[in-house]
Symmetry: C2
Subunit: 284 residues, 2 copies
């Protein structure tokens, strides 16, 4: 496994790989890797000849009051994990090279970035689409793999790739969970032991909503009331949003016909967690 | 020469060409081809194995009161011209395929789009960068060739390509002029015979400014006064802007040290013309 920091070196290697007929998969990450990331790599390994993991804590997707400074960074630990997964290249550029002086170009997805996290994190998705667009141009992947935990991010990136005719297959893979259901996240390490207990309520509430849905409940209001009740009774929780929306347009649904996505953002103490599940008739 | 309208067909052919080691050059145009465009093709022909000319009147770079509807379209005439120039492919997609329902993603260059044409054509450069980004993803060129007549456009696209790490060399080529100096433009055909006479004043004023500059005049105000005087005395002219700016940042200069670009936008009757020239010590 090779660690590349130089942007041009990565781009030249990517071009040469494509020229020689190799299929390239990219798993974009901000490091602090966990089982969720590793499952994306495992999937990429089965699909590609050259498996690239980018590790870059992207400053422009954090708001001024967000956790950019304290976001966990552990390139050495991450390298050990990725090497075991058969990753070929870690691409880990420096911020000053990635966003040089006079940098001024952004990719904006206008509609699916508006609700949910977009409504409470202004500029966040602009930072995400811009960094992913740049990574696509540098790493030149045939496929790029993202976790479904960041559901809106996945939809936003798929919309960008389609709208801008990027020749990249953008794939979402299932959320990996702890034994008690908590979705894997680099931010889980911020939780105190008490908060960690409260944090279980997100996935439990999602499960409960799925049970209600399967029993025939289709009204968003009823489903969300149950979710809010279950999370609200846990100590240290504060719901930022709980919405059921269309899985492509992300528009709010009042009644779920065929499919909906139940998406949550919940503060547990000073840690912001997100999770989601699909509501559909034929789910397992 | 092949005419391709299908986006995916173009992208697949581009990918196959790259895989087989061919160098691709793209000349993006809105059709209504003239000698200026043809000179870009001649240059591309010397540099590339596969020469692609895109012909697409891009709706999103026109303002609501601009000339999108009447912009000249002549794919048949354009095809004859390009075939003689050794063009391999005309890529001419349909607007409904290029901007399908739910299209919502734009590329924004923030600073160099602000002055000059950006100040009077809101949204114009967003339309330009978005269409060029899409064309780059579809045609996958190694180099892309633009005319220096649209000087700000060239700078904006070079900034975009750099900022987004596009693996494309963006080349500007000299403005081609009529015998009396008028810069070639698809919009020249809008001019009445009387307006056509007045339109000569743009290039004449630029030449005069270059003469003054060579004689040692470095004050923007003095240079622009002379330019405005020369253009203003012609019938049917109205200067929209006349500025001298830094050739990369496009910031206004009050005194020209090493280099400046003198950029003009002038209405002649109901036709808007632009032109520019470099002011520098070592020019011919």
């Amino acid at each position: 496994m090779k660690i590349i920091k130089d942007i041009l070196e990565m781009q030249v290697m990517a071009e040469e790989s494509r020229r020689s007929g190799k299929k390239i998969a990219l798993v974009p990450t901000m490091g602090a890797l966990h089982q969720g990331h590793l499952s994306l790599m495992d999937y990429g390994r089965t699909k590609a000849d050259l498996l690239v993991v980018s590790i870059f804590v992207n400053p422009i997707q954090f708001g001024p009051k967000e956790d950019f400074g304290k976001y966990p960074r552990d390139l050495q630990g991450d390298s050990l994990l990725t090497a075991k997964r058969g990753v070929d290249i870690i691409f880990s550029p420096e911020a000053k090279d990635f966003y040089p002086d006079l940098f001024q170009t952004y990719v904006m997805v206008e509609q699916v970035t508006q609700p949910l996290c977009g409504a409470v994190r202004p500029g966040h998705f602009r930072g995400v689409t811009t960094v992913v667009c740049k990574l696509f141009h540098i790493v030149k992947p045939h496929l790029a793999i993202f976790g479904q935990k960041d559901f809106q991010q996945l939809i936003v990136i798929q919309q960008m790739a389609k709208d801008l005719n990027m020749d990249v297959e953008v794939i979402g893979r299932p959320t990996v969970r702890e034994a008690d259901g908590l979705a894997m996240s680099s931010r889980n390490r911020y939780l105190s032991p008490e908060e960690r207990v409260s944090a279980r309520s997100l996935s439990w509430a999602l499960k409960e909503a799925q049970v209600l849905f399967r029993k025939g409940e289709r009204k968003t209001e009823v489903l969300l009331d149950r979710v809010s009740g279950l999370i609200g009774r846990e100590p240290a929780t504060r719901i930022e949003y709980a919405r059921i929306c269309h899985p492509r347009t992300l528009e709010d649904l009042t009644v779920v016909k065929d499919q909906g996505v139940l998406a949550l953002a919940v503060w547990v103490g000073s840690t912001r967690l997100i999770d989601n599940c699909l509501l559909e008739d034929n789910q397992e």
